[in-house]
Amino acid sequence: MTLAAGVLVLALAGVVLVLVLIVDRGRARARVDRLREVADRLRPAAIDLVDDPEVAEAPVLTGTEARVFAELLAHYSRLLRGEAEDRIGAYFEASGAVDHMRRQLRSRRVRRRVQAAFELGDMASQRSVPDLLHAMADRSLDVRAAAARSLGRLGATAAVEPLIDAAIGQRVPRSVAGAALLEIGAPAVPDLLKLLDHPDPRFRSYALDLVGLVGSATDADALPARLRDPSSEVRATAAAAIGRLGAATGRDALIVLLEDRVPFVRAAAATALGQIGGRSATTALLEVARHDVFDPASEAARALARIDPELVFTVAEEPDAGPHLREAADRLDL
């Protein structure tokens, strides 16, 4: 009986809880509507501020209005770059929001620190870079990841080394650090090139991946050596990077790589050859497209379609063409 009574009391409590939440949600919704109203009212002023060089003065706002205005600008800073972003940074510095968030980075509460580390990235102020670099050593992963993201958003060249270290030390997800390094762009390349000799193949291929995305053709000189790396993963990412950079100096080494013993390396080499172009690769690619296993053959056929469409149309109708050349020919027709 006590059990039954206990259960029924609990059930009643559950029902009351839901009822309370229903009422509460009504209030929450009204609040959201109010905020939206404020945002609509402030939007022209926000656009003025980011867009019009003649509007030097930001509106003087307090309380809710100031918060909503800041949120609008933070959002704009993600959509815009150039002068507009500089003006957003200047506003946040002048309003004291940047310094406030810098202090919050040292709060004892994780939630506060995460918020600060994240929001500083949208405030477009270089002033916060040293604090964010410091936050890269925070004991909470969320804070470190948010700081990494913000450093990328700010294009902080000083963050290149710490970001690479954090990725290698697995203190920040590699995708997060990588995206930040890509945002920083070309200044990250020298440090990434140093990583090409790291003993762990995972980090060599990580560096290659990023160099391929932000490097320039001149950075490609260091890459062909990696096509002979003992790790297959590194060989494949090296091929991909060379392809993306369109570095013709790697062509001969890539043709050799078409005979690698690992299929996904051959596939990456074929893709890269397609990106670089040049007829000297066609014979080797044809061989792969006709006879290799699925992924390399498919990539080789696609590469050939880029290099020499006419050739693909011709060979696709030959009896030994194989499925990949036929597919490539049909797709060229689209």
Partner: protein, 130 residues
């Protein structure tokens, strides 16, 4: 060539599902003296272009219903809108995207995040060219 001195204002169609981008782009172009028509998805964009043929269209690549490529192609397929210049707004990082845009018939593209000043000068460059 500037838009201010021509009596009937030049009309620019902007399509983006992000209200803030729509506002930012529209504001900048309106201030530069253009008349702006806004659309919030691909379908609206095509309808708006049929109703009033714009002098130029700025289209987001990723939109609900019809994407920027499809809208471009639809504009090109229609005799009335065939020659409307198109600038695509692309947030994508994929290599093929720009190529796809040009294949569909776009005249130029602007990457997001974008600079309003840059977008305006692209618009002026295209409208000035004609």
């Amino acid at each position: 060539m500037s838009a201010e001195d021509s009596a009937p204002k030049q009309v620019i169609l902007i399509a983006d599902d992000d209200e803030d981008i729509l506002q930012l782009v529209a504001f900048r172009l309106e201030r530069s003296g253009y008349t702006v028509i806004k659309a919030r998805d691909g379908e609206e964009a095509i309808e708006a272009a049929r109703k009033q043929v714009p002098d130029l269209a700025v289209l987001d690549v990723r939109m609900p219903k019809f994407d920027g490529f499809e809208v471009t192609r639809a504009l090109r397929a229609d005799e009335a809108t065939k020659r409307v210049p198109v600038i695509l707004l692309t947030a994508k990082v994929q290599d093929g995207d720009v190529q796809r845009g040009f294949d569909a018939g776009a005249d130029d593209y602007v990457r997001k995040p974008f600079s309003p000043q840059e977008l305006r000068s692209r618009v002026q460059a295209i409208l000035g060219r004609r």
